[in-house]
């Protein structure tokens, strides 16, 4: 109580504000709502993306990060794909078994 009062006087903001949590959670859930894509479909998209990239560069599929982002009601597909080597390799699912 006394501590609360002192930190209030000093204007300290230790506690995370609950509205920041609300905003963060809402943004995440709304992006999902707006995309309206099933997890299966999303996984298919991720795999096709990996296959497409692997046609040109050697990638670390396990390290891929694919997600949707939304701003001003427009959606973006954001993908971060780690490249292991730039040498062109032919993609085969054999030996690169981190799919799915």
């Amino acid at each position: 109580m006394v501590f609360d009062f002192v930190s209030w006087i000093l204007g300290k903001k230790d506690k995370p504000r609950s509205k920041d949590l609300a905003k963060e959670r809402l943004k995440l859930v709304l992006t999902h709502d707006r995309v309206d894509i099933s997890p299966q479909m999303f996984e298919k998209l991720r795999r096709d993306l990996a296959i497409a990239c692997a046609k040109y560069v050697e990638i670390d599929e396990a390290g891929m990060n694919v997600r949707f982002d939304s701003q001003d009601r427009t959606l973006a597909l954001v993908a971060s794909v780690p490249v292991i080597g730039t040498k062109r390799t032919s993609y085969s699912s054999k030996g690169r078994g981190k799919m799915g």
């Binding site: 509205k19 905003k23 809402l26 001003d72």
Partner: protein
């Protein structure tokens, strides 16, 4: 005359749609506009009691639609504001008693005689929603600064787009400035940032909304009501006026005294 048909909707129930319809409609009528309020919540009639017109209903929207009375006969004229009319919902039927095409025809007929036709949309996104938006050419979305209401509002924006209603306007209802200041409530910018639609008004959480509803008198008719003032400004903005937003600061000591004196007058 070809008036504007506007639906007031929210997705989530209990955020203040009916109160908003009563107040915005009443404020527009006070400004001299001819306004028809349509209660599209068939089976859960409420706009009549909020407006204090519950004892004057003879015919309702279904009677008018089925041709059992003329549309004019079903419209109740408000005694306080002569240019305000209510078309009440039927209480004994359900939402399936109306089809979207019938609603479109009805609102079209009303729009030929009124400046504004404002529809009070039921909660939800089913038949009742589809009926209410069928004839609308504009929409006002009501939300409160809570995660559930904002999420549902976002869904409504998408559904309105699918129905061909672009650029809905947003009203943030029941904002509590004290909680916003503490960081415990989403603020105006947060909500706009999330929903990304144009803001048409912010209504503070205000006890006078409940007391005025108790009496069946819209808060806009009470000069001392902060919420009433917010709704009057919304009406002005809907008319194309550039009105500053109400300061959301809680009144200090002198402000409270001024308000007290204002209310006593």
């Amino acid at each position: 005359m070809n008036g504007k048909v506007m639906v007031v909707t929210s997705g989530k129930g209990g955020v203040g749609k009916t109160t908003a319809v009563a107040n915005i409609g009443c404020a527009l009528a006070v400004r001299g506009k001819k306004v028809a309020l349509v209660d599209a919540d068939i089976g859960l009639r409420n706009l009549d009691i909020v407006l204090g017109l519950e004892n004057r209903i003879v015919f309702d929207i279904i009677h008018a639609m089925e041709g059992r009375c003329r549309l004019r006969q079903a419209l109740i004229r408000d005694k306080r504001v002569q240019t305000l009319f209510l078309l009440p919902a039927a209480q004994s039927k359900d939402k399936d008693a109306i089809r979207p095409d019938q609603m479109k025809e009805l609102t079209g007929e009303l729009a030929s005689e009124f400046d504004y036709v404002i529809l009070d949309c039921p909660a939800g996104i089913e038949r009742g929603f589809k009926n209410a938006v069928a004839g609308a050419d504009a929409a006002v979305i009501i939300t409160t600064p809570e995660v559930s209401a904002v999420r549902d509002a976002d869904r409504i924006v998408g559904l309105l787009e699918a129905e061909g209603i672009e650029k809905p306007k947003l009203v943030i209802n029941r904002l509590r400035p004290d909680m916003v200041r503490r960081g415990d409530m989403l603020d105006i910018e947060d909500v706009i940032d999330i929903l990304a639609i144009d803001l048409v008004g912010v209504v503070p959480d205000d006890e006078t909304v409940i007391t005025s509803t108790n009496k069946g008198e819209p808060a806009v008719l009470d000069g001392a009501s902060r919420a009433g003032e917010a709704f009057r400004r919304i009406a002005a903005r809907l008319e194309g006026e550039d009105v500053p937003f109400l300061s959301m600061e809680a009144p200090g000591f002198w402000g409270r005294i001024k308000r007290f004196l204002g209310a006593a007058r």
